[in-house]
Amino acid sequence: MADSASHTSDLLAALARIYPGDRLLTHAGALAPYESDGLTTYRGRPRAVVLAETQDEVVATIELCHHAGVPFMARGSGTSLSGGAVPVEDGIVIALNRLNRIIHVDPLARVAVVEPGVVNLDVTAAAAPYGLYYAPDPSSQSICTIGGNVAFNSGGAHCFRHGMTANHVLGIKAVLPDGTVVQLGGDSVEHVGPDLPGMFVGSEGLFGVALEITLRLVPRPEAYQTMLAAFGSLQGAGDAVSRIIAEGLLPGAMEIMDRLAIDAAEAAVDAGYPSGAAAILIVELEGDAAEVEAEFARLMDVINASGATAVRVAADAADRARIWKGRKCAFSAVGRISPDFIVQDGVVPRTKLGEALSRIEQLSASHGVRVANVFHAGDGNLHPLILFDGREAGALERAERLAADILRLCIELGGSITGEHGIGLEKRAFLGEMYAEEDIAFMRRLHAAIDPRELANRGKMLGRSTTAQSGHGLHPLERAGVISRV
């Protein structure tokens, strides 16, 4: 549209009054690194990237985009595995890596107030001197940012006991897509009124941008006890997990890797995993030392009764780190055994893990595509790593068909199409298979009320609405008097 081009050049001129040249990127070469995210199959060429250094710059940028009707997207480290951080074509990318102050850490109140560009692991580093840490630990935590964690309700390996990002966010100062700044929640674990920060989490950028986030810090337990057990079958490992839960244990983490994933991890980092195992189970207990000792005795009884072929117990912190190393690098490790791969993310009820894995094995055979399995056994969150060689004709398509079938399997078994990676671009088509029309319709109404012109991360999660405002004429909700433009 002719209008659109002139809006954009006016916008760029206005942005140039806010940002110096080195923080307003418009040339193709400078834009290229921002074109995709962790899901490299999608690309988008933005019109410009701004490198924001203050919250005021972010608000001003969004106000300008809103005035011009140009879509925008905030971006942290771009590690999204669902296409959530792929730029909107011809839109503005607001890069937040420089909006990275840890504003303060209050060890008495056990909170940290941070800007969105702060790296996840850096929050824990800042809390460490007080014996505290930030619990949500996605595998990418040394790179991913809190802003991204908030947008996708990131998880990690400790979700069954500790919850997800939404359970650790106490307050959010956010800018809505029309430039309105709102304060949601505060700095306490109990809110008065609705859990609005919890509701902002997981909105995948559609509700605007979080400018300042108040995070809950938790105390490091007195003791950890980590062990690794090898099994002759995935079924065996899965059954052990069920028995652990039935025993009333509440481990901090329970992770399973299959043979392919084990081989890849060993080749990459030499974690010392038992060779020849069909599956390994990592279980970590945490708590007061006396409690962990008592629980560990129960855990070992369960493991020994479940047919483990080898057991390794961490003797110290270094051992513990070694056990985790292989698991934490599993995704990148498979790069050694396959030129390309898709990281899938789905959830099945824990009691259906065995069935899910056996069906995935069948699907893998029938599609002729290899799958390595890594998963958070404690909460049923699967990460099938679908291996293929992009140079082979049709290989990507076959891999994507298998990925889709695995998602449908998750829905069929009563789970979810995403445990932690979110919908992004990748899974928009499946949201309607998981939720009923009425549920999706509500999400669209809510989306329209917060962002009637669909400027914030346009196209993600819900796809384009058919009734989105073009910027001309009244939105149906405006006509109904439900919303109005400022």
């Binding site: 674990v189 109990e190 008065v192 859990d195 839960i245 509440l250 979810s416 445990g419 939720y435």
Partner: protein
């Protein structure tokens, strides 16, 4: 006029057919008073799905907390957010709508940390689902989070799905007399610095401190002895005792003083039934320790939880307390008594909340009467 629906369809019809409604659960945390129809959900009860192996339970919103806890205990599980007023007939729907957890929420989290899915009837009578039945789910907007603490403004909760945990084998309560709120707060801070895995850390306005421990029976003795020993070493702490089966320091106006070693006669007279005397309000406030000096004169009794970060204040001078809260930039939620359901103190219009509310209730059927909102 009161309607007592026993099905979701009846609720949808009532919502569509009425101009104004408000929902009632067990009446233990009275909702903002309203005009229009009262939807009494006591008849929409029952557990619909429960898998102990999954640690997931789904129930209708009018189910009582008591019936849920009984069913969970039979399988060795429990609700870690410690919902209050169970003995007085609180419903799980009301617990979610008020967003109130008990003092044992200290260990693993509050109601919002365990609610993983909801079904809601909105202001146009539509049935909407958010979340699901698995503990890990990142699909779609987190409406179920927004329903926690929504006080009926976002529609009618009809069904809830919770993550549940294995029940601890044993509990101990360590009590101590610190002599004052300030001393008890300092002692609570010390306990937190020791990073013991306490289930609860509570104190009251006279400086009585309760530390709750929970876990394996074979370890609880060692842990409680060690914690008691450490507590004895603190200045201004006296009378440290370890109790085997101490009554739950549950939060109800009856229990608040029952948990003390020797409830004073005067206090018992004020709080000896769950029906507080007229004029007594119970207000939940978070983050008030720095302002206690300015608040305490308006408070007759107080229960501080989570080492002081959350407090339940009993007052018969609600307006004065509201003013003091406002001056201290604190917000309170009136849980019981006059103006129950009202938010008091420092109030700021929240544009995001208002937009969410208008989507879920475009015709203002659930909107609280103006004087309840301020």
């Amino acid at each position: 006029m009161t309607a007592q629906p026993t099905s979701v369809e009846e609720i949808q019809d009532a919502v569509r057919d009425s101009a104004r409604l408000h929902v009632r659960g067990g009446g233990t945390k009275s909702a903002p008073p309203g005009d229009g129809i009262v939807l009494d959900l006591a008849g929409l009860s029952g557990i619909t799905e429960y898998s102990p192996a999954e640690c997931v339970m789904t129930m209708r919103a009018g189910s009582t907390v008591a019936e849920i806890e009984t069913a969970l205990a039979a399988e060795g599980q429990y609700l870690p957010f410690d919902p209050p007023f169970a003995a007085e007939g609180a419903t799980i729907g009301g617990t979610v709508a008020s967003g109130v957890s008990g003092s044992r929420r200290y260990r693993y989290g509050g109601v919002r940390d365990f609610l993983i899915g909801v079904r809601v009837v909105d202001g146009d009578g539509r049935l909407i689902r958010s979340g699901g039945k698995v503990v890990k789910n990142a699909a779609g907007f987190l409406l179920h989070h927004g329903m926690v603490g929504s006080l009926g403004q976002f529609g009618v909760l009809t069904e809830l799905t919770f993550k549940v945990f294995p029940q601890p084998e044993a509990r101990r309560t360590i009590t101590a007399e610190c002599g004052s709120v300030e001393n008890a707060f300092a002692a609570a801070g010390a306990v937190e610095r020791w990073r013991r895995d306490c289930e609860s850390i509570d104190f009251d306005e006279r400086g009585t401190l309760w530390l709750g421990l929970a876990g394996r029976a074979s370890a609880i003795g060692v842990r409680s002895a060690a914690l008691a020993e450490a507590a004895r070493s603190l200045p201004s702490v006296a009378g440290v005792d370890v109790h085997d089966s101490w009554p739950d320091p549950r939060i109800s106006s009856a229990a608040i003083h029952d948990s003390r070693p020797d409830p004073p006669a005067g206090a018992a007279a004020v709080h000896d039934s769950w029906s507080d005397p007229p004029g007594t309000a119970c207000v939940k406030v978070a983050g008030l320790m720095n302002s206690w000096q300015n608040l305490h004169r308006h408070v007759t009794a107080a229960r501080f939880m989570c080492a002081g970060s959350v407090a339940w204040l009993f007052t018969d001078r609600l307006a004065d307390l509201a003013g003091a809260l406002r001056d201290a930039h604190l917000t309170g939620l009136v849980l019981r008594g006059p103006r129950a359901g009202a938010r008091i103190g420092h109030l700021v219009h929240n544009e995001f909340e208002e937009r969410v509310r208008r989507v879920l209730d475009p015709q203002n059927k659930f909107r609280a009467a103006p004087d309840s909102r301020r």
